[in-house]
């Protein structure tokens, strides 16, 4: 529970207590006068950077219970602010507290509007706090903190009237279904011999007052809780029950207060407001009267705390992250060192084992691969023999074909048809390697038809027959005639001689590309 400064202001006195560790030791009491204010300022000088919660106990207060159409968000706050301005235009200290939904058909929202109608009562004290640079967290009407006691004692009575004696008089606070509905401070002389009787009468009058306000009927039973912090009201409970038969009365004496609320006896004795200051310290109510300009310092303090909390969280996350990483780094490096040690040991064992091996010029894998490679090369080796055999067989069937030149190639590209050499014989080894799986044998047959006496038709038929003979061989993948004795293309000029003379007829030369299947 955060440390804070609790201040209670009434018409007669001001009590201040420093809340530390969930309690305060004692209240410092100052008279509501110039001297008291001076003493209060001296007291504030000893306090630094604590948020201040101010409780006001005054006659000049107002409570209004209203139903408003159900709304939420910006509409709701605008409507509530409008109501506050409408009801309390002469005071900055006002607030609205939602109290659930109405049970009617419209299910309207129920609000308790409350305000301090005489801001002057508080002005000089608030100014003193502001001058001392202490942030004001909130200003509350005293009855609003009484709700904390209802929750603490788990009081379930539907009509509860809480009674206590203060420096300013007798405080009567009415709760309807555990929710604050109205409160009033009656100025009664507590020192006279008739005090108990006056208190009892005031309780009876309050019951009539509530009836007049139509808050409750006279038939309803009322429970009265007397807060008797100094055990001076023991007779009051009896008097109340005697005067009002349908009133149930319970007195919360000094020992019960100490036991149930947790306030220490010396603290309770230090001020008439100590009990309520303790309730305020335990839980600040929602109905904060302070306008935003008064609480700006507190907002700054909260923002600073928020930023520092964020800073702490960021530092914690970074530190945790780095710590986890550091642990994992150390762990990983340990594993690495361990693995390296094992590797060295295994390598040593392997070296020891290799001493038993026969002396070899290279590794066992290289020995095996070299032998395998030599066998594969032997299996993939080709010679021109197969192609020469094919051409020889075709020549036997076509005796008029005379061979002049024959080229052969085993590679990924066919033999160069212009020169009879490979077009890629000394090409890029990488390019060859890419097509390495498609090596095949190809050949170029350069020959002529003899005898030839100018009969191109017969010569071409002979060449075609020769090519047909070759292509019928099962080993042959492709036969392509590249050049014929006569180019009969209409795009070219054609000239010649029709004589039967061999010398004048020219030659019936041709070229033929032969490609074998890859499996050959």
């Amino acid at each position: 529970m955060a440390d804070k400064l609790l201040i209670s202001v009434s018409a007669s006195q001001v009590s201040a207590a420093r809340w530390q560790g969930g309690r305060f030791a004692k209240c410092n009491v100052f008279a509501n006068s110039e001297d008291g204010l001076a003493g209060f300022k001296d007291y504030l000088e000893q306090v630094s950077r604590l948020p201040v919660h101010i409780l006001i106990d005054a006659v000049e207060e107002d409570y209004r219970f209203e139903l408003l159409p159900h709304s939420f968000g910006a509409d709701r706050s605008q409507m509530v602010n409008r109501k506050l301005k409408q009801h309390y235009r002469n005071t900055p200290y006002s607030s609205a507290r939602p109290q659930g939904r109405d049970s009617g058909k419209r299910r309207d929202d129920r609000y308790l509007f409350c305000a301090l109608t005489n801001p002057e009562l508080l002005a000089s004290w608030v100014q003193a706090v502001s001058e001392s640079k202490l942030p004001i967290a909130g200003i509350y009407l005293l009855p609003t903190v009484s709700h904390g006691l209802v929750e603490k004692l788990q009081l379930k009575q539907p009509n509860l009237l809480m009674v206590s004696i203060h420096s300013a008089g007798m405080r009567l606070t009415y709760f309807r279904d555990q929710k604050l509905r109205i409160s009033r401070l009656a100025r009664i002389d507590s020192t006279g011999p008739q005090a108990i009787k006056s208190y009892s009468e005031e309780i009876s009058n309050t019951r009539l007052y509530l009836h007049a306000l139509r808050i409750m009927t006279l038939d309803e039973q009322v429970s009265v809780l007397i807060i008797d912090r100094d055990d001076s009201l023991t007779e009051l409970a009896d008097a109340v029950v005697r005067d009002n038969p349908n009133i149930e009365c319970r007195r919360l004496g000094r020992p019960e207060i100490v036991a149930s609320v947790g306030i220490s006896a010396p603290a309770l004795d230090s001020s008439t407001d100590a009990f309520y200051l303790h309730l305020l310290g335990l839980h600040a109510p929602d109905s904060n009267l302070a306008p935003s300009n008064v609480t700006s310092g507190y907002r700054q303090l909260q923002a600073r705390h928020g930023v520092f909390a964020l800073t702490s969280a960021a530092a914690f996350v970074a530190a945790s992250w780095c710590a986890v990483n550091l642990y994992r780094i150390v762990d990983t490096r340990f594993d690495t060192t361990s693995a390296a040690r094992q590797t060295v040991q295994l390598q040593a064992q392997y070296q020891e084992a290799t001493r038993q091996f026969p002396a070899a010029p290279t590794t066992a894998d290289n020995l095996k691969r070299a032998v395998d490679i030599s066998q594969k090369i032997g299996a993939t080796m080709r010679s021109p023999e197969a192609m020469m055999s094919l051409v020889s067989q075709a020549l036997e069937s076509n005796p008029s074909i005379i061979l002049k030149t024959m080229g052969w190639k085993y590679g990924t590209a066919n033999i160069d048809v212009d020169s009879g050499k490979s077009s890629q014989s000394t090409g890029n080894p990488g390019a060859l390697a890419m097509a390495a799986g498609s090596r095949r044998q190809s050949g170029l047959v350069d020959g002529e038809v003899r005898p030839f006496r100018g009969d191109y038709r017969a010569a071409i038929e002979t060449i075609n027959r020769f090519a047909e003979t070759l292509s019928q061989q099962p080993q042959v993948a492709e036969v392509k005639i590249l050049k014929m004795p006569l180019n009969i293309s209409p795009g070219l000029t054609l000239s010649g001689n029709t004589t039967d003379s061999r010398e004048q007829a020219g030659r019936a030369e041709f070229k033929l590309l032969l490609v074998l299947k890859q499996t050959i």
Binding site: S296, R299, Q300, A303, V307, F308, L310, T311, A315, V317, A318, W321, N325, R328, I329, T332, R333, A339, A340, Q342, T343, L346, Q347, Q349, Y350, A353, Q356, F357, P358, P361, T362, T363, A364, N366, L367, K368, R369, A370, V371, I373, S374, K376, I377, G378, M381, R382, S383, E385, K404, T405, G407, W408, K409, Y410, G411, G420, P429, L432, A433, A436
Partner: protein, 203 residues
Amino acid sequence: MNAHDLRALKVPLIVLISVIAIGAGLIYYSDITLAQAQLALTQQQAQLNVARTRLQKSGDEKELIVRYLKNYEYLQRLGFAGDEQRINWLDGLRLANQQTQLFGIDYQIGVQQPYPYASELDPGQLALYQSVMKINVRLLHEGDLMRFLGTLAKEGAGVFSVNECTLQRIDTGGSIRFQPNLRADCELAWITVRPATPGEKKS
């Protein structure tokens, strides 16, 4: 929140930004260091696995050496495994020419270069090379070429493959004397293999 509120938060915000920046830096640095440590561990574990496997297979390795050593030594003598033996090739050419009674052989050997079809042969840690030899042979008839190539292979001068050949008829002017009728231009690839040295690109 107005400007006055922001001014009041100046120092805390500076502290917050500093802490976030320092924290982010530390996290980044520790992440990088952790990643490096994990990479080193992965590499070390890979080496450990290799060493473990190697030790486990040392028995198989010994068996492989016993099984393939003699064949490998034969390939070494043949000139296939190890450095190329050009003198052996020339001796092989000379002897093959004599045995097939040809008319002499012209040759030209090119520079050694990576064997372009090595990937077909799954060489592993071995590097394959070839030296292209161009020969010019004069023949009585085409059968002599096949006899010559077969004899050259049997000479044991090395391992070679025939890339291409061109047979061309020589005009003898109708003479029937003992003289060449054909000329063969062939290209042979003499292939060698040797363990790849560190940094050497495998063929």
